[in-house]
Symmetry: C2
Subunit: 553 residues, 2 copies
């Protein structure tokens, strides 16, 4: 059996020019990056075109068994493209840090992949590097301002803007910097986040154009003064320089699937610490250029799904026409209590135990008033009985479920699913948001916790309560909420699988992101800088003299 990277390396790649032609782009509307990647530099000229149908793919809570959400997204896109050539896929960009840590790409798998997969998983078109560069330039400018007489009266103990690298590096989580004497800065505590956790990443994925991006960057709160007034990038006067560093990163990237379906990959915030969806611009561009757009949101419906629907939809100005929830027999069996090495045996009882996880996501997504479909991503060991069990369960929610073999067959394995999705997009839809912008923070939090997670409610730490009081002075308490929560459970405890009940969500603290325009609620012990495992993937990656990469996935 070929590995993902071997399948990708064997693929026939169309010149990106041919893909650009296919979606009707003029040469002035895109720029090549190699022969197989491009950036679309479209302005607002297509704004009034009729928009395509939007299909949002999410999943149950992920497990170690793997759900293959990206693989289903790609396979479904390829299947839809067979029905209507004007189909596009819109995904997030992978983060390089985890690529060197754990194996597992973000470009699909098997015969449902986006290519060139190695490039996309490595540096791609440099968007994340531009973000890292802008992020650390801002950090250096803050410390330089403190060092050069501190005209903004920044309290070095209250600098909020950390540094960032796209590397899994736990040793950089907490650091003391500015050491080495009077010519090397002012000593203070600091730390590094992974680049995808940067507020600049959130801004990149939300900005509608360069000026919108600049205004958002100006609003970033970087520190408090000694008398506890917020200091912003506008005060520092460097939003123009930072926007200049992101002038190319703002443009969506165009690539193709193995079946040559045009695919936009742009922006990559994680859904457990930020909004977890690809860029507003890329999704909008795809909607302008095609009849069907398949996009995904990170992790489960509780994280990426809720954020897409409550936060991205208002900015996008377009609601999804269908929501696809990806589930697998294997993952549901893990939710039902099995260990990873017990998944090969048929076990309908365990599956039935785990179905409650799917159930919670089905109810919470149906609540938004958009047609819902279940995609069962088939694995070799799945039995007919197990597959039917999931179908029957979904039927109890009046939701159709389709089995798809996208890993082994690509788009051909998702024909039924595609037909079901097309049917769903033509059903009546009445989008109902979960909360209104005017809701108090605590009400927003409770609605998310109760309706989406199935929790009793939320509990705020003393710090979080104090913060909300202080934020009210600046109106920050009215911002949309972005939950930072473990992806593995509906609760804030990664060990509680299935559909836990009788639990409360604990909000440890809030992080205001004024440029992105949201308030992050930190729950549990979510980390913003991952570490590497005992045997990092980097130890298995190698390259030949002809540039052939091995061991990447």
């Amino acid at each position: 059996m070929l590995s993902d990277i071997e399948i990708a390396q064997d693929a026939e790649v169309w010149p990106i020019e041919k893909i650009a032609d296919k979606i009707g782009l003029e040469k002035s509307e895109w720029q090549p990056y190699g022969w197989d990647k491009a950036k679309i530099t479209l302005g607002h000229e297509h704004d009034n075109d009729p928009l395509g149908k939007l299909i949002l793919v999410i999943s149950i809570n992920p497990t170690a068994a793997g759900e293959g959400k990206s693989t289903v997204t790609v396979g479904l896109g390829d299947a839809l493209a067979k029905v209507d050539e004007k189909t596009m896929i819109a995904l997030r960009e992978p983060s390089l840090g985890p690529v060197m840590g754990m194996k597992g790409g973000a470009t699909g798998g098997g015969y449902s992949q986006v290519i060139p997969m190695a490039d996309i998983n490595l540096h791609f078109t440099g968007d994340f590097h531009a973000l890292t560069s802008a992020h650390n330039t801002l950090a250096a400018l803050i410390d330089n301002s403190i060092y050069q007489g501190n005209p903004l009266n920044i309290d070095p103990r209250r600098v909020l803007w950390k540094r960032a690298l796209d590397v899994n590096d736990r040793a950089l989580r907490h650091a003391t910097i500015g050491l080495g004497g009077p010519t090397s800065g002012v000593p203070r505590e600091d730390g590094f986040d992974i680049t995808v956790a940067s507020e600049l990443m959130a801004i990149l994925t939300l900005s509608t154009d360069l000026m919108d991006m600049k205004q958002r960057i100006e609003k970033i709160v970087i520190a408090d003064t000694y008398d506890r007034q917020p200091v912003t990038v506008a005060d520092l006067g460097v939003a123009g320089a930072l926007t200049t560093l992101l002038k190319d990163a703002i443009h969506p990237n165009l690539v193709q699937t193995l079946a040559h379906t045009p695919t936009l990959i742009h922006g990559g915030p994680f859904a457990n610490i930020a909004q977890g969806t690809n860029s507003v611009q890329a999704t909008k561009t795809a909607l302008q250029l095609s009849n069907y757009v398949v996009t995904e949101a990170g992790f489960g419906a509780d994280l990426g799904g809720e954020k897409f629907l409550d936060f991205k939809v208002p900015l996008l100005g377009k609601t999804p026409d269908t929501i696809v929830i990806v589930a697998t027999v294997r993952a549901l069996k893990m939710h039902g209590g099995l260990a990873k090495d017990e998944l090969k045996q048929p076990n309908v009882a365990a599956l039935q135990n785990g179905l409650a996880n799917l159930g919670q996501h089905l109810s919470s997504m149906k609540r938004y008033g958009v047609p819902v479909v279940v995609a069962i991503n088939q694995f070799t060991d799945d039995t007919a009985e197990e597959l039917q069990t999931i179908k029957d369960y979904a039927a109890e929610f009046d939701v159709p479920a389709y089995v798809a073999d996208v890993w082994g067959q690509g788009g051909a394995g998702a024909r039924e699913l595609a037909a079901g999705v097309i049917e769903a997009t033509h059903q009546p839809s009445d989008f109902t948001p979960l909360y209104t912008p005017e809701d108090a923070a605590i009400d927003k939090l409770n609605k998310i916790a109760q309706t989406i997670y199935g929790a009793q409610g939320v509990e705020l730490s003393e710090k979080a309560q104090k913060q909300l009081k202080r934020f009210a002075k600046y109106g920050w308490d009215k911002l949309p909420i972005i939950m930072a929560k473990t992806q593995y459970s509906l609760s804030d405890d990664p060990k509680k699988l299935g559909a836990p009940s009788d639990f409360t969500i604990h909000v440890r603290e809030f992080v205001p992101k004024l440029g992105a325009g949201f308030l992050v609620a930190m729950t549990g012990s979510i980390l913003t800088m991952p570490g590497l495992p005992k045997h990092p993937a980097a130890n298995d990656i190698d390259i030949d003299e002809d540039g052939t990469i091995r061991g990447l996935f």
Copy 2:
């Protein structure tokens, strides 16, 4: 008067495809990065072509007055291209950190510029970002190995591999990392260098192909064990992954001048801390594809010049056919004792005082047995008498000197210089290296200090002496020497302008770079991480809604 960036933005840019055609590349031999940049993916198939003439441009010791070495290199290239269309220019890539600090580009100026200048000075084709990424991935893997049971017995107090960012950030020079408790690494002292100072940058500019790069990376010494044995990347087993991260960065970048002269820009080590020249591959590629190649080495003849001739030439397998030394009336007047605000007044006496600086470089470069030419880069305030004074002085060394107005006129301002250079390349040349590989380190150091700098000799600190003894065990004491020295003076004291005498060079410590294959001798107080000034350039940079950048240069 238009600024550099305004001139660059007004320029007619040829599609890079047309430039690639001009130098005879097949479509399989290059890849586009936007419509105006490319990477040449040439293998060794042109290795046996007759090589072009190699012209090395260096300068006197730089001053605050500016010498315009890159501007002369570009103007000379454009002038030579008028005589022989098969002319190419080979430059280094600018570092982004300083771009946000002090104004001053690395792509020439006025009407002698390489374009697209903003892109080249910002992220270009991502080479430096790939280096930053690989550098910090290695750092994370080292700390992870220590954290995960430390199987290589690395002494955390003796980790030699620091972290790196392409940002001027003095606060990161010295840091304590691994703080925050047992799940966040092992606490230790660390620090960040600017990316150009990374050994990976040196390796990138020296590698002949991917396998050579991988072997060099394997040899990097990253730490000592508790029993003081060197630990290398090969021991860690991640050279394949790091080479994979540099698979695109290894290829030279193709751009054009305002006059459409094909220009390779690749690699960017500083000459005051590393070898200070562009990549061996780029220079070789240019020599294979053209009849005249104009390249430059960083800072004065003492730094970039010596390193090019003693270190790069053996790897290149080709000696320069002519050495051009750039001097200006203004800079020589500063070497003669004037302050920056006194340069507008004619002052032949001060100029004569400063000529000794040019004189030292003339003697030291003539010593290599290659024809030498002086290029006087003309500024508006220069008087005829001042220009003639330099010519007369050069004549005393039997060296022709030509006035060039490259900033104001581009290649048309360097016609005479080009004719003189062509004449020089046809003169007999008998390249004589300064030292032999077998020379002891102390002998190499003394030869460089005495012959090139005009010093009495070198003095080693106690630490440096101990290091040499220890290094002898591993044969490292026989490596070529790379001096880390201030660029402003022939001595190791940046305040001693002109041609100081009666001085000694103080070697503080050695840094072995086994992957690059050299031993760095640290003199004076050279920093490997710059800081930002009181008013950083970032505060003046801005971008319009149509993407027009202002204030970059």
